[in-house]
């Protein structure tokens, strides 16, 4: 085994991959939520559709999207590897455990929260990403140019109460996952410092509420306004 593979298969190496992919996905979510705010612009989806076209065709964005796919897949695979090692480390559990007195709910349930988010992600990708790339999608014409009308798919999907509820609940899971994951990623990278850690904690707390809340607001807004 070379030193690279040896390092990346050590527990710390695996944690490093979890932290780096996690942080990249945190950045991705920032971009995703800010772009999606165009849904709320009230121009019948014109800006959103033009933006969606740009996001699926621009080469630089494409490169970023491949990095996102790799991050998601890497984050999932390494979480499975780590979880298996962690489970094996304690074959016999305690009869009585008061873990809630020493650690937060989110930190103890990152795997479960992550699995729920993954299930949401599969549904979410099927709903929009798959449709945009390979689905039958209506088109619209703006200033003589033809665009895929993703906005109509989004508006139609969020007429369904069950889907709206599912999306909002999933954002709750995401909020809990991020409430631990954000600061935890920095700790894993070794960035624990008197000067910066309080700022990382604060940004993490704001991020884990603001980003999922904005995401959850979109289906609710569409459902109640159309």
């Amino acid at each position: 085994m070379s030193w690279v593979t040896k390092t990346l298969s050590s527990t710390l190496g695996r944690k490093l991959i979890m932290a780096l992919t996690g942080l990249f996905l945190i950045l991705f979510l920032m971009g995703h939520v800010s772009g999606n705010l165009l849904l709320l612009k009230g121009d019948e989806g014109k800006s959103f559709n033009i933006y969606a076209e740009f996001m699926t065709t621009n080469p630089a964005v494409k490169l970023l999207s491949y990095l996102t796919y790799i991050s998601v897949i890497g984050h999932v695979i390494y979480s499975i590897l780590l979880s298996r090692k962690n489970k094996a480390a304690r074959p016999i559990g305690y009869a009585e455990s008061r873990a809630s007195t020493n650690s937060s709910f989110s930190s103890r349930n990152m795997g479960i929260l992550g699995t729920l988010i993954l299930i949401f992600l599969v549904v979410h990708l099927q709903n929009f990403w798959y449709q945009m790339h390979w689905g039958e999608i209506p088109t619209v014409t703006y200033d003589g140019e033809t665009y895929k009308d993703l906005f109509s798919i989004v508006s139609f999907s969020f007429q369904n109460e069950l889907l709206v509820i599912g999306y909002v609940v999933a954002m709750g899971f995401l909020a809990f996952h991020l409430s631990h994951g954000f600061a935890s990623a920095f700790q894993t990278l070794g960035l624990n410092h008197k000067k910066y850690s309080p700022a990382i904690q604060t940004v993490g707390k704001i991020y884990c509420v603001a980003v999922p809340a904005l995401f959850a607001f979109m289906p609710l807004y569409i459902y109640f306004t159309s």
Binding site: L12, L16, A89, R98, G190
Partner: protein, 249 residues
């Protein structure tokens, strides 16, 4: 005080083991937890039964020998060692559940005694410094700023009891290993083996079968010496910088 003790009994490592309840009376609230177990063991011995085996040595909270997972927490309800836990932390009529540390790397030897030699092997892998033998060196020969000395000392207060492993949902030893790496990484004496130490101790930790860190903070919250999570961040820095810069291919 009158108590019911629900204690894990296991003849040896091959035995499946199980809980046995023992009613006990006449316990003073000023007794330490281990003295309470001594009373129980005296009664058991007088009845011709096998006493409950548990680890202990100094009973002053400095050796790291005592363990016990008491009522769902390592070292019981107070943030101290079991030997420094007193019965005033409990109430008359309580049922107290006592279990051994649970980790693959800490196999049960008998009853509440676990084999913590995995920690010794991690130390042997790199938790030492090279020193020239000879006369005692002069004090302050190597200047070390007080802040660094204090921080290294804080890490060095780890007594290696294993409460961090017991508390961690992943049975991870990272708080222990990080304290042992930190105490030497911060001092000039520790520079010679610095990179090698981080690589070897982490490799040994992994091969012993301890879990990974989820940064829950349970280890530090339960540590009788209050070892800080900053040590784990330092260990990660030590390890990552060691693997990219050491000569060890």
């Amino acid at each position: 005080m009158k108590l019911t003790l629900k204690i894990w009994r296991q003849k040896n490592n091959a035995d499946q083991g199980g809980f046995v309840s023992y009613p006990i009376d006449g316990i003073s609230k000023d007794m330490s937890f281990l003295e309470m177990l001594d009373v129980l063991n005296e009664e058991l011995s007088n009845q011709g039964e096998d006493p409950v085996h548990f680890d202990h040595d100094c009973r002053e909270g400095i050796c790291g020998m005592c363990s016990l997972y008491i009522n769902g927490k390592p070292h019981g309800p107070q943030q101290t060692t079991t030997c420094q836990l007193h019965m005033r932390s409990f109430h008359d009529g309580d049922t107290i559940t006592i279990e051994p540390w649970r980790a693959k790397a800490f196999p049960v030897v008998k009853d509440l005694v676990v084999d913590r030699s995995a920690f010794d092997r991690i130390i042997q892998a790199g938790g030492y410094v090279s020193v020239n033998t000879g006369g005692v060196p002069d004090a302050n020969e190597i200047p070390i700023p007080k802040r660094i000395a204090d921080e290294a000392f804080d890490a060095a207060t780890c007594i290696g009891c294993g409460a961090c492993v017991a508390a961690c949902k992943n049975a991870s030893a990272m708080l222990f290993v990080s304290a042992k790496i930190s105490q030497l990484a911060m001092l000039p004496q520790g520079q010679v083996e610095r990179k090698e130490r981080a690589e070897k101790m982490i490799a040994q930790m992994d091969s012993e079968g301890f879990g990974a860190c989820t940064n829950t903070g349970a280890c530090s919250a339960e540590c009788p010496k209050g070892i800080s999570l900053t040590n784990i961040a330092r260990m990660n820095r030590e390890y990552f910088s060691a693997v990219v810069s050491s000569e060890n291919v």
